[in-house]
Symmetry: C2
Subunit: 266 residues, 2 copies
């Protein structure tokens, strides 16, 4: 089949070092799901909303942009749901805005920054910031051979070993699903995914960036302890503002480390 | 906020009859998730694979195209997963390929044709073909006010009352999730969604076509009875080939009815 033939060619190309690996990173897209997570980062880097949106007319997606040191930084956010007025969270909106941003902005690197639930049994505490090593889904169960693996969709993220070491950041695996709560089946899958953090976007964003061959990093700050005593929604809302402050500080450290380096130096 | 402001303008525009409503439909995109579902339709309309894919390099998405009576027909299929070789089923791939196809091909109408599970308690039998009146998700639980509604994401599909009447088709509601199986929580949500059929793509496709203001119709053929005795995966695989034959016959009837008509006449 043509599609598979093409892919083999792509895979062969991926094995060669890419030209952009040898020049400093100049163009970063930060993907953020919620306005509360986005605005501290927008303010920290003095980004402004792009008056000429690169996105199609009618979509609520927003791009903020600016220059910081030697970097062009865009922050894209899927915006508020046109009908309901809440943040367009979850895998579908994030996948779409990541796809559209890569097509329009041709970034050297994607960074998904956001909040996450954490498992204390795996060493997570409120306010911890993790760099993600692997993403997978915990709510795509397809009990047919090979489709089962497709559903889980384990993917390595872009490894940034020098960055992790230099900034002394925690590293953990991420499990993604479209629900804020966690059923028994979700929990079993999350344990099978060996996840320390749980979110609603990550595995979808790395799926898209993998398809389009753009490296993607994940910076996740813990708002709630899933295997703790408090109800997730309540704990999430209570800690959201304070934890986004920790998140945007971590994003600044990551961006400062990236500045002037090429992808292979991270 | 700018994004909401823009949307209000869009909504105001949507209230006016669109110019394309008054001219005959000329450009249709059929979105299909699996190759087994796609090929009978490709053969029936003698579509051929587009040698100049409208999609970015590296993605496995495939477009078949052709002319049938007065219609330009494209069938888009998210292709085989580049790593695992199985059909790229589920909400994320379907949302992405629908988005990319609308951007590239500017269709007058989207038709999502595919197989589905059916509930016998709601009148579904193996081989039945349904036109969908409403789509919603059953695996996006976000127990925070308003976010809960966003998660369920109920949307009316494009109503084609004349088509339904003329072709004497069954009409039912569709519930979408990324798993082939059904947990207790899924079942409760599906009941709350009042669904007769269950699939893995529909609500994502109508989400995208709503954002981009393209009418979307759904033709779903029942491969398995969810509230029956047989395991879903087994029954699905057993009936897949036979039911896709019923599906492509229904798609032909739908296309024949659409030919020469404008959107408002359907």
């Amino acid at each position: 089949m043509a599609a598979l033939g093409e892919q083999s060619e792509e895979q062969a190309m991926a094995a060669q070092p890419k030209p952009q690996n040898r020049r400093p990173i100049s163009n970063i897209v930060i993907v953020v799901a919620m306005q509360t997570e986005a605005l501290p980062i927008v303010n920290r880097f003095q980004l402004t909303e792009d008056p000429h949106s690169p996105f199609p007319r009618g979509v609520p997606w927003v791009r903020y942009q600016g220059t910081y040191k030697d970097l062009n930084i865009s922050l894209v956010w899927p915006g508020k749901d046109p009908t309901l007025g809440v943040d367009s969270v979850g895998t579908i909106s994030s996948a779409l805005v990541t796809y559209a941003a890569i097509q329009a902005l041709q970034p050297d690197l994607i960074i998904n920054a956001g909040t996450a639930g954490g498992f204390k049994a795996k060493g997570a505490s409120i306010g911890d910031v993790f760099i993600v090593s692997d993403c997978a889904f915990h709510d795509r169960r397809i009990p047919i051979p090979v489709f089962d693996l497709y559903g889980v969709g384990v993917r390595k993220t872009f490894e940034a070993p020098n960055l992790v070491k230099e900034l002394n950041l925690k590293v953990g695996k991420l499990s993604t699903g479209d629900s804020l709560d966690m059923t028994q089946q979700d929990e079993s899958s999350i344990i099978a995914n060996d996840a320390t953090v749980k979110d609603m976007e990550g595995a979808a964003i790395v799926y898209v960036s993998d398809l389009l061959k753009v490296p993607a990093m994940f910076v996740k700050a813990v708002t709630d302890i899933i295997d703790g005593d408090k109800p997730t929604a309540e704990e999430f809302l209570q800690n959201l503002a304070a934890v986004t402050a920790a998140l945007d500080l971590a994003v600044e450290q990551v961006i400062n480390f990236i500045n002037g380096k090429c992808v292979s130096e991270l």
